[in-house]
Amino acid sequence: MSSLNVVASTPLLITAGAATAAFTAGLLPGRTVRRHGPALVGIAGIVAAMVMSVVLWDDRLEAFGGGLRADRFSALMNLIFLSAALLTILLAWREPAAVDRRGEYVGLILVSATGMMLVAGAGDLITIFLGIEVLSVSLYVLCALEVWREKSLEGGLKYLITGAVGAAVLLYGLTLLFGATGSTQLSEIGAQLRGTSFTDEPLVIAAMVLIAAGLAFKASAAPFHMWTPDVYEGAPTTVTAFMATATKAAAFAAFLRIFSGVMPDLQADWSIAIGALAVASIAVGNIAALVQTNMKRMLAYSSVAQAGYLLIGVAVGSIQGAEATLYYLLAYGAMTMAAFAIVIIREREVEDGDMLGALEGYGRARPVLGAVMTVAMLSLAGFPPLSGFIGKFLLFGSALEADMAWLAVAGAVGSMISLGYYLRVVTVMWAPGPEGGPRKVLAVPGPVGLATVGAGLGVIVISLMASPLLDACRGAAQSLLAP
């Protein structure tokens, strides 16, 4: 019990407590409390957890006998998860999925964020698996929250089945890693594997392959991406936005913790496997996105491609690679959230709001929303000087530096293909549009507008403040790779 260090786990405890409070607030008597209580409790908890993560920035603490760490890496990842959760709760204001189940919606988002923070701060294989399960189980429910829509149920079921397979594969890998080293502690495993190579440890090869496959399910990297378009299309769009940003970031946190953090000496061997995943994701995601007419499906394939770019930084295995991945995760979170925010707003106005056609001429009727979408799309496509460009530049640069030019070439070709579908959205938005303007336009609720503009500004701020942010990312990468 002496190693039970509560300070290191405060961000997690706060979000878990806020989740419990949000569930309760949704049941209290009184209409106003029931309607606004959960969201307010949730936002307060998220802000408090963010403050605690910033406070813990300079510390290196261990809690629960080394099972949980608080270092710069976990602090930075916590901020990504919590910002995504905050924007999701704001975007879900008056969302049909969230209105009559407000407590559940906010509570489950917070529980999921808690699981992600558990993954990012994991110091133990058990903690990693526990975190992955906590975040997945709450997302299975969230996907099927619009029970009156058949597609929502279908998405939830598909996510449950593929997610369970992914978790089983991951667990198998973690078990083999435990079998090969005799410890579940990441630091202990790292010490055991130092100076070894895969030829000495056949079990570790099998463990590495299974762990990479299991995490690729969660990160929706090809060829483990099959569920992504259906689930992203079926789930309530706010939940999709949360999955596309935060869940992906959590999967990458696990990738970095296990591969870069624990097996740096085996990097020459696993970098080829991860690099192959990256190239496959870039190719499949970008080519499949070209033919999509549904915005949610297009963004799903785009997120597969983006996972490929992010994997480049993991495959490189160096501090530069991890730093670039972390910076790109920040940028990716902001631009994907901004793109989904526009889809969420349009979906409320017209029946087929998630189709590309529904956005025709929308930029002219709603210049601010049009500008946000344009910034998001240009940044996703990697236009300088936006944050997407800086992130890709760093990722491809780290690949060149590590003599893995083939990864940089694949990324550059993929980015070129991606112009085809990102720019199409921009053209459609600013086109003259149908007679009499876009069919129907509703007032945007304040919190939704705030979140949308906030995400759009986030893309620009992340590129303007690139140098302090990159210092932070480097600090996080160093705390991960040089323990």
Binding site: M1, F23, L27, G179, A180, T181, L203
Partner: protein, 118 residues
Amino acid sequence: MELSDYLPILIYFAGGLAVAGAIFSLSKLVKSKPNPSKILPYESGILPSTPVRQRFSIDFYLTAMLFIVFDIELAFLYPIAVTLRDDGLVGLVVLLVFVFTLIEALAYIWKKGALEWR
């Protein structure tokens, strides 16, 4: 850990395969010849009047799941009870946090009407 340390597991695995294989192959070899009357469900010699597979109300599953939650709570409480004297106040607080979370869950499902039998 050496790979050879896992030899007992391999032997156990091989033993399991051998037993399962023996059961299946024996039942293939010495199986009786079925006919329509033989494969009917046995109901004391009377012809079955209703379909054998009955549907259960979803409420049973809900009750079973709630049972498992509180069953697992007990499974956790026993080990804590054994070491509570050594853990002192910290252990007690941790225990109370855990129990409170489950009480809150009970209040939640009660309010949601999951305890009503429909």
